[in-house]
Amino acid sequence: MDRFCFKTNIWIVLLALTVATPIFVVASAWLLPGGELWTHFAQTLLTDLVISTVILLFGVGLGVSVLGAILAYLVVMVEFPGRRWLEWALFLPFAIPAYVLAFVYLGVFDYSGYAQVWMREALGLSGFDIRSGHWAIILTFILVFYPYVYMMARASFKRQKIHMIEAGKMLGASPIRVFWKISVPLARPAIAAGLLVTLMETLADFGVVSLFNYSTFTTAIYSAWGDFRSIEVAAQLASLLVLVAFFLIYFERRARGKAKYYSTDVSHIRPYTANGWVGWLLFAFVFSVFMLSFAMPILQIIIWSVDIFAKEWSGKYVSFFTSTAILTLSAAALTVTVATVLALPSRCKSKSRVLQTLIRFSTLGYALPGSVMAVGLMYGVQNISLISEYFGGSSLNHFLFGSIALLLFAYVSRFMAIAYNSTNASSEQIKPVFEQSARLLGASRFRLIWQVYLPMMTPGIMAGALLVAVDVMKELPATYLLRPFGWDTLAIRVYELSAEGLFERAAVPALMMVVFGAVLMFAFNRLDSSQL
């Protein structure tokens, strides 16, 4: 490695290591004894947990890939009634926190929900327990997370060369065959990237899983910590999730192989038009996904809010909203800045596989449950304090715990995966030729980045910022533990009310979150309209 590369790379190494701090702290728990508790878990929960986690990941993964890709293909390649607004509307479920959606689904489809009551009373069918078995929770996760695949696949389909599709058509291939043989293989990296985010988020989920009383790996993590007061075993179990995520990323990279797509042209021509009943059938399909994943839950939330609004609303909501907005926007800006730096194209980086692996590793915090990540961070600070005290300084704990700085750090570590995924996807589309010409022309690296790379990466930066912003808005466990006094967010309000069974009241802050999320999406969409 030449000297220049050493100097640029060392900064990236330091940045990646900093982002990965909580992962290191959590993994260091293996240095501590776990002992009897492992034996107990091995004899009781573990087999069951591993099986149900695998079934869940498999079902959700298959579901989001198929649904996300089909929806994206339809809105990009086919003209059908309602396509214009549905293309945008299909993003909206992003704004609803997964646990809120799960909550509404249970309220409607569980034994005591109206759907089942109607089924028993009007149709005379017998009721059933939707929380037993796997399919109901898998469907819930699919409806919550399909937008990740939809979003990435849609961006990829838009960049597919229209003449390849036209060639397929001229050779007489049916639209379905074109989809399978041309579009899907070309979009495979994008679908895999969306799938990866989904699987990591499913692994780390605790909210939906507890509402369904379904057991996954996180069940054991929380049991180790909450029931057996063993933060060590909790951290050991959690670091296994990071390991799983690491393998998932590895397989995604393998699946992608050497494929890199240097096309940045966006096509607005739709090769197919669905008229008549076929068009309406497509509309019905896409519309029903929108209904189930967004319209129906929102309607329920609105119904709950209306009656209770006057009682629940107070001046406090201004503060809940301000805290949410400030945290959301600053976390998004910070995370995406770091992600951009990590993703900037550079010949130095592309030469070093170790560096690339390290960067990937630093994004794995996404697979850690939020509370484990937050406690890991507190222990990280504790270690620094111990060093400081050893040298006669004072502890930093009381200064950093409950500071915005530590909370933002937690967000950056936790959501780096989604920010990096997006910035890296657009960075990979930048041809190495730019760097070569810049050097020939004697342009500084700074000018190259500022005038060439950043404008070219803008779509990825914007998409990453939006995803992080929406995720931070919905984030609960890390915010709950690390926020400063008086910084309650909307998500915290939703949790505190619904934990006490006050779901109608919880609908008020939930609705505010959805509106805020939708506004964010709209704003980012406008900022980035040149690219869409």
């Binding site: 929380r131 926007l329 998004a332 700085a405 533990l481």
Partner: protein
């Protein structure tokens, strides 16, 4: 170019916010700082009243019990918390073992809080009592069929029982009390009987248990009474009723929400004053009317709605025992497969 300018301004905003961390709230002398796992909407009215009565401000931070204990441990003698408040005896007991509390045994507290609802060494005080008992469908169950928690393990309840998840602290404390009263083997038999009798996967919430009974999925369940209180307030005349369990034997299992003064409190005097105030008649009445819980202070009458359910005999097992036995109870439920 526009996007670039926007990115720059967002970055500037972020820097500003990060910079503002130095503006940490300066704690004035007469402020009591509380960490609480009792939810904001249930403590804020109490603190407001306390400030009105005494002029002492209360600064609070809500969170999960285990998280907050961990945070206090790491903050050590610099912790801002003067008081830790939580909703389960197990958490109070655990915080006690982690050296978070100091012993506070003032005459006022000893008079106001009965001995089984507080730590023997005065590390924490129970402040409101939460009774967990049987709820049944008045349409499908004759109350004469009901008797004890153990009886719900009987075959006659096959397919008729709904329970809340074993992951919830209230279930854990109840099973811990059964381990205490019936021994490990007895408890194992009872809990396996329950699991055999389940009509559905255990529910995430007590309110879901009651909804399932109302919808006919099952006939009996176990709930904390204040959830029943809220349901009846919203839907008066719902065909549900409470039954006081174990009246001939150990009494109804009770848990507490409670608090203690932290070991490293910088305003211990204010925190003790707050703790005493919370045990007073005035505050105890607010506990009852806010959340339909039972007062810990026996000289205070229950809320009107609550007294309508009648008097009952409480299990007088010291609640520290529920904490000690909690891990055993969880291990037992996990062995049996109570999800």
């Amino acid at each position: 170019m526009l996007t670039k300018r926007i990115i720059v301004s967002i970055l500037a905003l972020a820097t500003l916010v990060v910079g503002s961390i130095t503006l940490i709230q300066a704690a004035a002398d007469d402020v009591v700082t509380v960490y609480s796992s009792r939810k904001e909407h249930l403590i804020q009215p109490l603190f407001e009243q306390f400030t009105k009565d005494t002029g002492i401000e209360v600064n609070y931070l809500t969170g999960k019990g285990g998280d907050l204990i961990e945070r206090m441990k790491l903050e050590g003698n610099n912790t801002p918390a003067d008081m830790f408040m939580t909703v389960d005896a197990g958490d109070l007991w655990y915080a006690g073992t982690q050296d978070v509390f100091r012993s506070v045994l003032t005459d006022t507290l000893l008079n106001n809080i009965p001995s089984h609802l507080r730590d023997p060494e005065g590390l924490w005080m129970g402040l409101s009592v939460r009774a967990r008992t049987i709820v049944y469908s008045t349409e499908r169950v004759d109350p004469f069929e009901l008797s004890t928690y153990a009886d719900l393990a009987d075959d006659k309840w096959q397919g008729r029982l709904c329970l809340r998840t074993s992951k919830k602290i209230y279930t854990k404390s109840l099973v811990a009390s059964i381990v205490h009263n019936e021994g490990e083997e007895g408890a194992e038999a009872i809990v396996s009987g329950w699991v055999n009798n389940l009509a559905a996967t255990p529910n995430a919430k007590d309110s879901h248990v009651m909804n399932a009974i109302l919808a006919g999925q099952c006939d009996v369940g176990l709930v904390n009474t204040y959830y029943f209180g809220r349901l009846i307030e919203e839907t008066p005349g719902a065909p549900l009723s409470l039954f006081w369990a174990n009246q001939e034997t150990s009494g109804v299992h009770v848990n507490v929400s409670g608090a203690g003064v932290t070991k490293h409190a910088s305003n211990a005097e204010g925190a003790i004053q707050l703790l005493e105030w919370l045990s007073s008649a005035k505050a105890q009445a607010i506990y009852g009317s806010l959340n339909k819980e039972y007062p810990a202070n026996q000289s205070v009458a229950s809320d009107e709605v609550v007294s309508a359910w009648g008097a009952f005999k409480q299990d007088d097992m010291n609640l520290a025992i529920a904490g000690i036995l909690q891990a055993d109870a969880v291990a037992l439920m996990q062995r049996i497969g109570y999800k």
